[in-house]
């Protein structure tokens, strides 16, 4: 014997089904009276109102139930006996699941059924806790289906299990009530968490705008899956940490007048570490060039004096010259030439950037107001945008060359200087940037009237 599966109302179908996974009142087959099995399992009737509508929608299909349904609607009687439910289980079988899933004992199914609606059915104890119109409707519905079903039910079995059933009913009611309370508490918890989350996000956004560097949690998987900007920020934070460690090591070595060989190893490490950040920036630029160019990953003061996504090599060299004495003639010449070369390269790249901006402006401003139809304008616009997109794409190239310039400058400086001088230079560079970062923090924390 099978049960007829009836689709409940078009668009409500899925909602109904998921809302109350297993409570599906059945439409009886012509020969399914007294069939065993029950798909009504315990669940919260989350959307009974809808269900009711859709049930009403479909119940016409059920054999012999239509007139009963109207009767149900009008009646407000609340019946608390087990008869209705038991019979309901047996006779009303609108099921989604195949027959195989059904619990096939008459006693068992009553319990399950009870979990979902029996509690509702009992008017006195439970309605007081969750008293909504919805639930009342549920009551009515539950009761009245029972009433209807009893017309065609087999009553003999029920009378014998009265006592046990009553107790079981009460237990079910209690369980259902507790379940409802738990669900309520859980939903409240979810709501408050959601609120907190939104608040935190807003705070984060605000703080980011103020330029406080915020790194996300150390969760590896999270940072890697996120967008390029976030991932880079995390990488940069890690890089800074490592940088500080290395610089401390270098400082200790310099102060303790370590041997050249040891110093050279540490210096080489620091230089290699610089290569790391340029490599990371390159990767990040492919994902989000504007993030790197914006300098949001730097502190405000650093950001202000930024040039094409990083520091200005020529400026760095200027502040080093004084701190590196004594320098040989050759070294002085070397540093001076290096300073000049980097300045020239910086100028060239800056001019290229300016040309890019101008070209982009021309492209976007080139709107010929044609009186023709909209299609012409749209094609124009699309062509404009396509060209502009192409130009924007070259930004990554400029950033790459700017970083290349920075990297080459550092390496050339390292070549010109001795190991000890390089060590001092690297310490000086690090001091400068640390102070700039500290300045940013002070600035952000300054008392404002």
């Amino acid at each position: 014997m099978g049960s007829r599966t009836v689709k409940i109302g078009a668009e409500d179908d899925s909602r109904v089904m998921t809302g109350m996974p297993s409570f599906v009142p059945a439409i009886p087959n012509s020969n399914s009276l007294g069939t065993e099995g029950n798909t009504i399992r315990s669940s919260q009737l989350t959307d009974f109102g809808t269900f009711e509508q859709s049930l009403g929608f479909r119940i016409e299909d059920a054999v012999g139930l239509n007139p009963v349904y109207n009767q149900m609607k009008s009646s407000s009687q609340v019946l608390g006996t087990d008869i209705q439910f038991a019979t309901l289980n047996k006779t009303l079988q609108l099921q989604k699941e195949p027959q195989a899933n059904l619990v096939s004992t008459s006693g068992g199914h009553r319990e399950n059924w009870g979990e979902s609606t029996m509690a509702e059915a009992s008017p006195r104890t439970d309605t007081s806790t969750d008293d909504t119109d919805d639930k009342n409707q549920r009551h009515e519905m539950g009761q009245l289906i029972g009433v209807a079903a009893s017309d065609s039910s087999d009553k003999s079995k029920e009378k014998s299990g009265d006592q046990k059933t009553l107790r079981r009913l009460a237990q079910n009611r209690e369980a259902a009530r507790k379940s409802r309370l738990r669900k309520k508490a859980y939903v409240q918890q979810l709501e408050s968490s959601r609120l907190k989350l939104t608040q935190l996000e807003q705070e984060l956004q605000r703080a980011r705008q103020q330029g406080i560097f915020i790194s996300s949690s150390g969760d590896q998987s999270h940072s890697m899956s996120g967008n390029g900007a976030l991932a880079f920020d995390v990488e940069y934070a890690r890089w800074l940490e490592e940088q500080n460690k290395q610089i401390n090591e270098l400082r200790a070595a310099v102060n303790s007048h370590a041997a050249d060989a040891e110093l050279r190893t540490i210096v080489d490490n620091v230089m290699a570490h610089f290569d790391d950040i340029f490599r990371l920036k390159g990767i990040a630029a492919k994902a989000d060039v504007f993030h790197i160019l914006s300098g949001m990953w730097k502190t405000p003061a650093e950001r202000c004096f930024m040039w094409i996504g990083g520091f200005r090599s020529s400026e760095l060299l200027k502040l080093l010259v004084n701190q590196l004495e004594p320098l040989t003639e050759q070294q002085l010449m070397g540093i001076y030439n290096l300073q000049q070369s980097s300045q020239q390269a910086e100028d060239a790249l800056s001019q290229g950037m300016e040309a890019l901006q101008q070209s982009l402006a021309e492209t976007l401003a080139n709107g010929s107001p044609s009186p023709s139809g909209s299609s012409g304008n749209v094609a124009n616009y699309m062509g404009q945008m396509a060209m502009a997109m192409g130009k924007l794409g070259t930004l990554e190239g400029f950033l790459r060359q700017a970083d290349n310039l920075r990297q080459q400058t550092l390496q050339q400086m390292h070549r010109i200087l001795t190991t000890r001088q390089s060590a001092r230079a690297l310490l000086a560079i690090n001091d400068y940037f640390s102070r700039l970062r500290a300045l940013s923090s002070l600035w952000l924390a300054r008392p404002r009237e």
Binding site: N337, A345, A348, N404
Partner: protein, 102 residues
């Protein structure tokens, strides 16, 4: 490629560019700053530009332009020029090729 080599040998410093390429603009500016007056060939404006661009791409760099030749020899693209300039080699090459005098 022949056309490229031919043009490249005509002057001490030769740069193949495109009018739309802003990086080319940067490299041009650098050469002017150094006092060189390189011969500029804009591939999007000359007759067989496409073939020359194709040939240049075969020289190994990602973008065909800018392509710099000094003394008839291919030097490289933007990245190479900047690197060579930083360590002083570019200037020396230009002096050797008599593109500049100091």
């Amino acid at each position: 490629m022949d056309r490229v080599k031919d043009l490249a040998s005509k002057k001490a410093a030769v740069i193949f560019t495109k009018s739309s390429c802003c990086m080319c603009h940067s490299i041009k500016q650098l050469f002017y700053e150094l006092g060189a007056s390189p011969a500029i060939h804009e591939l999007d404006q000359v007759s067989n530009g496409k073939e020359m661009e194709y040939a240049l791409r075969g020289l190994g760099c990602n973008s065909s332009v800018p392509a710099v030749f000094i003394g008839g020899k291919y030097v490289g693209s933007a990245k190479d020029i900047i690197s060579l300039h930083v360590d002083g080699s570019l200037k020396q090459m230009l002096i050797d090729a008599k593109a500049i005098w100091f």
